[in-house]
Amino acid sequence: MITTYVTSLKVAFNPFLATSKVPRLFLTLLPPEAHKTIKITTAQFPRTSTASALLELGFKDGKTMKYTWEIESSSAEDKTTKTKKVGLNDIVEEVNRHARGLARKEELTG
């Protein structure tokens, strides 16, 4: 994952829910020196909370990406809406795509 253009990262989750999986795995994907260049804020909800997990990324050009994961309420609703949940790879792809675009822009201007 290209993290050179990421400036801030905001994560909030309840680790006792399955929704916390992607934000937590995203934290482990960052390089070991990431906290020196990226402003990382982590918040944990208490165990009983049912708030949706949150992952917010800020880039150098001001773009922000925000993802939330809500708890699955029932199977009937899923059938009607049928939205695919955002996975870790989707986020990584999106970050990389934006980073490549920024790199290209930098190359052309400077």
Partner: protein
């Protein structure tokens, strides 16, 4: 040249053994012929045979191959979970080796300092557990089934039909019975979502809030209750590798005496002053306060009754007095 062995099928061999007459020597032939004892029936014969174990005692057959590394890891995790009352779970994101070394060193030195203090106060040596507190990275995909085996598999409670197929004597962590019980409870344990990604555990051989507090003040300092060690007391704590590593550690929760706590709950356990004794003192104070309140509440009814009666008596006395005066 083929081996000169007469190959017989198992059935043939069994027939041969049945047909072979019992050996009797020539001299006692007569005696045996006279003293004929009634032959014991087949069922009697079989019931008297003690069950023969078909494996060496130290190598019981197991569901997972004992030669695999992960089977042994599972065994070690199960025994860890069964023997360790206090486990704190941390998330670690890409810590470097130097950072791990630094953090473990600081943790060990801080805990040893606490042990020295406790020893001076006259704590018995079995409560000095600093050297047995370990901070290690786990394999979550093995730890999770190990947790299920430790939590749900109780060899004493097995129903007789559930151990039908396998030997009832086999109740170790790798046995088929353990596997079956654990797989019945797949995904049920509340710690299952926590055990995803990179997780490290801090294990305490005894529930000791003092040691937990020290560990927290090193690993995730928070000003009022868990102050970080001062620069003068522990200068190496402020080395860049240690500080960088601490930023990447995150408390997720804890398993204390089989109960699950979130990060705040774990901090609360760490903040109990004076361990079990402190908790008892708190309880006593609470109960005493409660007792005082209760007695005053119970007293108030009788006291008010007494006041009413007393005032009534006064009234009556006052009424009687003027009558007496009139008579005179």
């Amino acid at each position: 040249m083929p081996p000169r062995l007469r190959l017989r099928s198992l059935a043939q061999l069994a027939d041969l053994q049945l047909q072979r007459p019992a050996y009797t020597c020539g001299r006692c032939q007569y005696a045996t012929a006279v003293a004929t004892t009634p032959a014991s029936s087949d069922t009697q014969f079989q019931s008297s045979i003690p069950p023969v174990s078909r494996y060496p005692a130290v190598q019981p057959p197991s569901h997972r191959s004992p030669l695999q590394r992960k089977s042994q890891l599972l065994r070690s995790y199960v025994s860890l979970l069964q023997t360790t009352p206090l486990i704190v779970l941390f998330q670690h994101s890409n810590l470097k080796a130097a950072e791990w070394v630094g953090i473990r060193r600081e943790l060990r030195s801080a805990l040893r300092k606490i042990d020295e203090q406790l020893a001076k106060q006259g704590t018995p040596p079995e409560d000095l557990i600093a050297d047995y507190i370990k901070f290690e990275v786990i394999k979550t995909n093995i730890f999770e089934p190990a947790l299920r085996v430790a939590e749900y598999f109780n060899p004493g409670e097995l129903a007789p039909q559930s151990i039908d197929g396998s030997d009832p004597a086999l109740t170790h962590a790798l046995s088929e019975a353990a596997y079956r019980v654990a797989s019945e409870h797949k995904g049920e344990h509340p710690l299952t979502p926590v055990l995803a990604g990179a997780v490290a555990i801090l294990t305490f051989p005894a529930v000791s809030p003092v040691h937990l507090k020290t560990a927290f003040s090193v690993l995730s300092p928070k000003a009022p209750t868990f102050p970080a060690p001062t620069r003068r007391a522990a200068p190496s704590y402020y080395d860049p590798p240690v500080q960088d590593g601490l930023k990447k550690l995150l408390i997720l929760g804890a398993r204390i005496d089989g109960q699950i706590f979130d990060s705040e709950g774990t901090r609360w356990v760490g903040s109990i002053e004076g361990g079990i004794g402190g908790l008892r003192a708190q309880l006593v104070a609470l109960l005493q306060g409660f007792g005082v309140g209760l007695t005053s509440t119970l007293e108030s009814a009788s006291r008010s009754l007494w006041f009413t009666m007393e005032s009534r008596r006064n009234m009556l006395e006052e009424e009687e007095k003027p009558k007496d005066e009139n008579k005179q």
